[in-house]
Amino acid sequence: MGMIKRRTMLKILGGMVSGVSVLAAAGWIAFVPSAKEPSYEFVKAWGGKGVRPGQFSDPTGIAIADGEVFVADSRNGRIQVFDLDGNFKRQFGRPGKEPGELGRPMNLTVRDGELYVPEYFNDRIQVFGLDGTLRRIIGGPGNGPGQFSAPGGLAVGKNGELYVADFYGQRVQELKPDGVFVRQWGTTGQTSHAVGSFHYPTDVTLDRTGSIYMADGYGNRIQVFDPDGTFLHKWGGPLARGIYGPFNGWFTTVTSIAFGSEGNLFAADFYNNRVQKFAPDGTFLTDFGGKGTGPGKFDHAIAVAVAADGSVFVADFLNNRIQKWRPN
């Protein structure tokens, strides 16, 4: 009798283990895609912690224009400009609240010869010429239309319209070029994993058709809307419902997104210490990086930008350096 009971128990246990294994395998196949492209090759890194030209204290944003790399050197309150090989060219800004001063600049955007700098502390966007001349200031602190509560990143449309990730506002706002409010996605101040809502949005970018890609930072996903504002699709972990993880196509806090010239999207996956590359429909293509301080390793990859030749530049946050990568 005892032997039969034991056999039955073993059978049940075996069945349960098999069931769990099948479920895990099915989940893996469904939610962890394999790479479709080779990874990227590390080229070089530059920087180091400090205040001198070419050094950084919290690099948090990066953009590329006209063969130059613009870096938001956040805690130093300045923008540093380098050539594509990392040679220092110039800098502008200093910590503060006055026009031209910077209070924790975040993800940078260049459009039509102008640099857009969202400031986390000053709740505004300053627009500079690429030489560092201040052109105008958009927004101010608050949760009203056209106001910001820690703007983290933005995109600029072909007519100069702005799409701003309002981090503590839990929304993405569309503004006219002069800052007048047009509409928003998300409910002000309310976090949610529902479609069109956010859990601390960090960045926005546009594709060639004007579709709007929004990095939902702690929502661990990317949401896409057509130019009219209609939801198209989303991705990031199982069902893009905020579940984080280290697997292909998952995020653990997505802090920056940028399109490459071939039309694929790169995403800085902060706590996973890597950059992921996706097709515009969210198909996972490849990734690169890994935790560390050596060449090709990140201590939290926070921002990404892509040059016209396909080189990818990454702000390596806690290593206080910029890394350059190229396709294999």
Binding site: D58, Y120, A150, Y168, Y271, H300, L318
Partner: protein, 100 residues
């Protein structure tokens, strides 16, 4: 004459540094979980800087701690710090006054 000038400068500098150091109020060490991301660390800094009487806020993103130094005569209570951390989207894990 040169030596006398140097001595005066040294005395002046020492006095100035000492005055500045003693003019600062108490410091507090605040512990917060998940402070590695600047989007959160800066949020906490911003909230704490908005509290009246705060002289300086230093975040250590690596170990998840924040040191708040108050102006001379000002103090920070735990409830206020807790609310500031909560407004930044986090939970206060520890609050201690640093030795003066």
């Amino acid at each position: 004459m040169k030596t006398l000038g140097r001595i005066i400068l040294a005395v002046f500098t020492t006095t100035w540094i000492a005055t500045a150091a003693f003019a600062a109020g108490p410091s507090y060490r605040i512990e917060v979980a998940g402070l590695a991301c600047p989007f959160c660390a800066y949020g906490i800094e911003k909230e704490l800087n908005a509290i009246g009487g705060v002289e300086r806020v230093e975040t250590n993103i690596g170990d998840g701690t924040v040191i708040v130094t108050m102006k001379d005569g000002a103090a920070l209570d735990e409830a206020t710090a807790k609310q500031a951390v909560k407004d930044a989207g986090f939970t206060l894990n520890g609050f201690t006054q640093a030795a003066q």
